[in-house]
Point group: C2
Chain length 241, copies 2
């Protein structure tokens, strides 16, 4: 049995019942070392398999190999395993190898939803998720999605917004967005949400401090109706009040 478990962005508080149960029931826990640290207290008596960033394919192959031996394995993803996480890669590899193992994907709270709750209610109308990581999706494709999302006035959730290798991409993204949205558009920033040093900030595109943003930050760009009240970011659903 191979569970693919989304553990949420960090805090045990926003982990689901099912995720906790799957980890408890598993003999072997596989995951990126940073995420295993988050659930350290749940790992006693269990075998753990971890590696570093960019080792995703090898990590998933190991998890499948162990599950094929008949062990109960939990593959850990941060947030939700199906959103830029490990669920897709596991299923792709299982298909390719024609591996006969039982698989269950266990959903979790993804970072944008956790950040949104802390920031107010920015996702109350139609929204997009776009990852600015151009390792696996060409920057040209990502740019075309940012353009389309801004033009149709979606609320935009940017994942992996600013890497040390490509810090300029976020500014490029904002330059595309401001072709259509005002630079007074509300922006919410959630950094290390549900972790020890979490910070949230509500600002505007114009006032954005790019230096504050890194890869553990979620950037939420509002639509034209999004406003700030009591330091919270609110996108109206459209009720008449």
């Amino acid at each position: 049995m191979l569970y693919i478990v989304g553990i949420g962005p960090g805090s045990r508080d926003i982990m689901t019942q099912e995720a906790i149960r799957a980890i408890k029931q598993s003999e072997v826990i596989v995951g990126y070392k940073t995420y295993l640290k988050v659930i350290e207290d749940m790992l006693q008596g269990k075998e753990t398999v971890s590696n570093g960033m960019r080792g995703e394919v090898e990590r998933c192959q190991k998890a499948i190999k162990i599950a094929k031996k008949g062990k109960t394995v939990a593959m850990i993803s941060s947030g939700d395993a199906g959103i830029y996480g490990m669920a897709g890669l596991i299923l792709e590899l299982v298909d390719k190898e024609d591996a006969e193992i039982e698989i269950k994907v266990i959903p979790g709270v993804t970072a944008s939803i956790a950040a949104a709750a802390k920031l107010g209610a920015p996702l109350m109308n139609d929204f997009c998720h776009i990852s600015l990581s151009d390792h696996m999706t060409p920057w040209k494709v990502i740019k075309s999605r940012i353009d389309a999302a801004a033009k149709a006035d979606f609320v935009i959730c940017l994942y992996n917004p600013r890497s040390s290798e490509r810090p300029e991409l976020l500014k490029e993204a904002m330059d595309i967005i401001t072709k259509y949205k005002s630079d007074e558009t509300v922006v919410g920033i959630g950094k290390d949400v549900a972790r020890v040093n979490e910070t949230e900030k509500v600002t505007t595109i114009k006032e954005l401090n790019y230096e504050e943003i890194n890869m553990t930050t979620i950037v939420l760009v509002g639509n034209k109706h999004t406003y700030i009240a009591n330091d919270r970011m609110i996108t109206p659903r459209g009720y008449e009040i």
Copy 2:
């Protein structure tokens, strides 16, 4: 204290720790009657306030009024309270009334994420959420968003896909989508996900049976790389395997 609680789509399994705690700690539970039924066993000894569909503004006003009296109140939303839920309306009303109450939004697993986990891994690349309910957003705006999302090849999650009043909107949406996406594009359907009679189905736009879809269904339309393997819907993240 007013907690705005996302209870997930149904099953207690995918409720978060924090949501359960907030409900336990609350003296008064407010919510749409269908959602209160889901947590019926948690309501013993508590005051409940509920009403029917379309009574959202009144329901939120009541919750605020009770919280202002100093009671601990939980306002219940299905899925995540910040995604087409009650978080935005509560914050809008609190701002308008200038109500001095403490508010905490507690995130939950939204229906698309729960459906995606059951269907495979459809949301592994950039995606949009669009509600087809035109009560509060003009159909023209919704159509422009569907057009933009399809053109830029987002995976598209359709909420409220087919009402009895406006059953034709889903077909209209698919007609826009097939201007850009092939009618062989994979579609995942999650109906009553995490509830008693849940069903999932992986199909294509061409093979879609509109009659099967209602307001408690989530429709996930893949991107051009989405494929079916072992009856699961997989959108590749882009790893070379």
